[in-house]
């Protein structure tokens, strides 16, 4: 046996080095991008944009709509993820693909689809008799939910996959009803995955731009959200504000990740 085949030989070290180096490329690239953003020379202070009422409104609107969208996404994703994880319904592959589409297609397409839908008879009925969505705040929530629910469904399915189906069965032999088994066992045991799903849904909704801009427009003090503000500031040549708002968005998402992942006991780093 040559030295290259021994435990700790150069073949093993070469493999580890190659895998390690490849694994480092993506996080390093992300870190470099964030660093560039933070280090770019600017004249305004980190808190300067907050003096503008329109930016403060956009921030508040972003927080409220993205939280609403995250809750709605989770409400839609829990049953969908559960059914995909537990049952093989007829046509489940088609449903699976359909639920994947919002991730695969450009977000703008969803905005276009929403605009078209609200031009149809059922869409017009909803607009006139139930709730106005087009170019309105409920529309922001709707557009954000459509994008973020797709991610939430994936994570919810994974969370339920991680709970053996037999746990619910055993719970039933112990006297639990179907609902009790779902609530006390399946939902409780998948809670850390569901929190992850909520978090991802929230960050996706918080950062979504394309479908919201297309479906609701970017009207100052009305339908402008923080991601739209970055676009607006950039388009009028206010690079400082665009940069600072981008940093704020990144920081908020990072703090949220830290808080939630820290609380769920998963490794933060």
């Amino acid at each position: 046996m040559g030295p290259e085949n021994r435990v700790g030989g150069w073949r093993g070290r070469a493999f580890l080095s190659l895998v390690g180096a490849s694994a480092a490329i993506y996080p390093l690239a992300l870190a470099a991008l964030l660093l560039c953003l933070a280090a770019y020379p600017r004249e305004a202070s980190f808190f300067a944009p907050w003096s503008e009422p329109a930016i403060r409104h956009a921030f508040l609107l972003s927080v409220v709509t993205s939280l609403a969208a995250a809750f709605l996404s989770l409400a839609l994703a829990i049953p969908s993820g559960y059914v995909l994880s537990r049952y093989r319904i007829p046509g489940w592959r088609l449903v699976d693909i359909l639920l994947y589409l919002p991730i695969a297609v450009p977000p703008l397409v969803l905005g276009v689809a929403l605009l078209i839908f609200f031009q149809t008879a059922p869409g017009r009925f909803i607009e006139h008799h139930l709730l106005a969505f087009t170019f309105a705040v409920p529309g922001i929530i709707l557009a954000q939910t459509l994008v973020s629910a797709a991610y939430a469904v994936r994570l919810c399915k994974l969370a339920f996959d991680g709970v053996p189906q037999k746990h619910a069965g055993v719970a039933r032999t112990l006297g639990a009803t179907r609902w009790q088994a779902f609530w006390h066992i399946e939902l409780a045991e998948s809670r850390s995955g569901l929190v992850e799903a909520f978090l991802l849904a929230w960050t996706t909704a918080f950062g979504s731009f394309g479908p919201v801009a297309l479906f609701c427009g970017i009207t100052r003090m009305r339908t402008e959200i923080l991601s739209s503000s970055i676009f607006l500031e950039f388009s009028i040549g206010n690079l400082d504000n665009a940069l600072i708002l981008s940093l704020w968005m990144g920081s908020i998402a990072a703090v949220a990740l830290l808080l939630v992942r820290g609380r769920t006991g998963k490794p933060i780093w």
Binding site: K166, T173, L174, Q180
Partner: protein, 338 residues
């Protein structure tokens, strides 16, 4: 009225390519029955049908005289300890054990007394506050058993309860299980694929293969009189020969082994090694090998071209001459095709 125990009549089911043939079985109240069979024979499926976790295609199940075929799992009064135990993760042992009582909102002296009796009997008191993930295999098994016993089951179903444990723990835990069952008197159906475990525990054995019950009876019955070649092989009978009965005389290969009360035809002849007597008289044979096992010394003998295993009192050297007596009354014949 005498409790009739578990009565299964023609229970069937089909899932994908697996088919459970109509199962007929009776486990008397208070008995410790063992369902024995190779992996994939349908043992776990049968238990899941009994618990109500799978719907049957047909048949009838009665427990203590009540029909429970279509009953909800929650009201069957069957305690189920699945393979790998399936404890509820992220919770402590006490939460798991009290689960059934909390689902029924059952509180009070009687529940507390039952809880204390069970955890003390199973030596679980020191582990009650521990999360189940941190418990050892033996402790997890006892928590699963305690959780099932809290439901006051009429029938206890144990699916390979010791297979996940280290070899050294299996024997003492099997003894504990048997002792506990005797004290509580609860009818028990224990699934395993290990013959030693089945013989140590079961007063009634049921052998299953490819979705059908192939034999049931006392351990002695199954060992001495296997119903098929499969049962003989599965119960590790080392002496299994293709045989013929011609004019009432038993022939194995070209050797006549005497007359018995048999009909002419083709058979599988079975003789457990403990019934083949070695002496200086008897049919002359030659030792091929001699080996020590956990329970006995086994000697492999060549007897007029027939390969034969016999229990022995000592190790013998290969090539030694030995006399063999094969008692006809102990010879069991299985018609070919059975």
């Amino acid at each position: 009225m005498v409790n009739p125990g578990l009565h299964i009549d023609g229970l069937t089911g089909r899932w994908g390519s697996f088919r459970l043939e109509p199962v007929r079985m009776q486990v008397p109240a208070g008995a410790y029955a063992v369902l024995l069979g190779p992996s994939g024979s349908g043992k776990t499926t049968l238990l899941e049908l009994l618990c109500g976790l799978r719907p049957p295609a047909g048949g009838r199940v009665e427990l203590g005289g009540r029909e429970i075929t279509q009953a909800d799992p929650a009201v069957r009064r069957i305690g189920y300890v699945p393979q790998e135990y399936h404890l509820f993760s992220g919770r402590n042992a006490e939460w798991n054990i009290r689960f059934s009582a909390s689902m029924r909102n059952a509180r009070g002296e009687a529940i507390e007394a039952r809880f204390r009796r069970i955890v003390e009997t199973l030596h679980l008191v020191p582990f009650l506050r521990q999360r189940v993930e941190t418990l050892s295999g033996g402790e997890r098994q006892r928590v699963a058993l305690a959780r099932a016993l809290m439901t006051e089951p009429e029938l206890l179903l144990l699916d390979e309860p010791v297979s996940a444990l280290p070899e050294s723990l299996r024997d003492p835990i099997c003894r504990e299980l048997k002792d506990l069952q005797t004290r509580l008197g609860v009818t028990t159906l224990h699934v395993c694929h290990n013959l030693d475990e089945a013989l140590a525990l079961g007063s009634h054995l049921v052998v299953m293969d490819t979705g059908r019950i192939v034999q049931e009876g006392s351990p002695q019955d199954i060992l001495d009189r296997p119903a098929s070649r499969f049962v003989a092989q599965f119960t590790q009978c080392k002496n299994l020969w293709a045989a013929e009965v011609r004019a009432g005389e038993l022939w194995i290969q070209d050797t006549a082994l005497g007359r018995g009360n048999w009909e002419d035809g083709s058979y599988w002849a079975v003789l457990r090694p403990e019934y083949a007597a070695l002496s200086k008289t008897g049919l002359p044979g030659r030792v091929l090998e001699s080996m020590r096992t956990c329970h006995a010394v086994l000697t492999h003998i060549e007897l007029r071209g027939i390969s034969l295993w016999a229990c022995d009192d000592r190790l013998r050297a290969p090539g030694d001459p030995v006399g063999v007596t094969l008692p006809h009354e102990r010879m069991h014949l299985i018609p070919r095709g059975a």
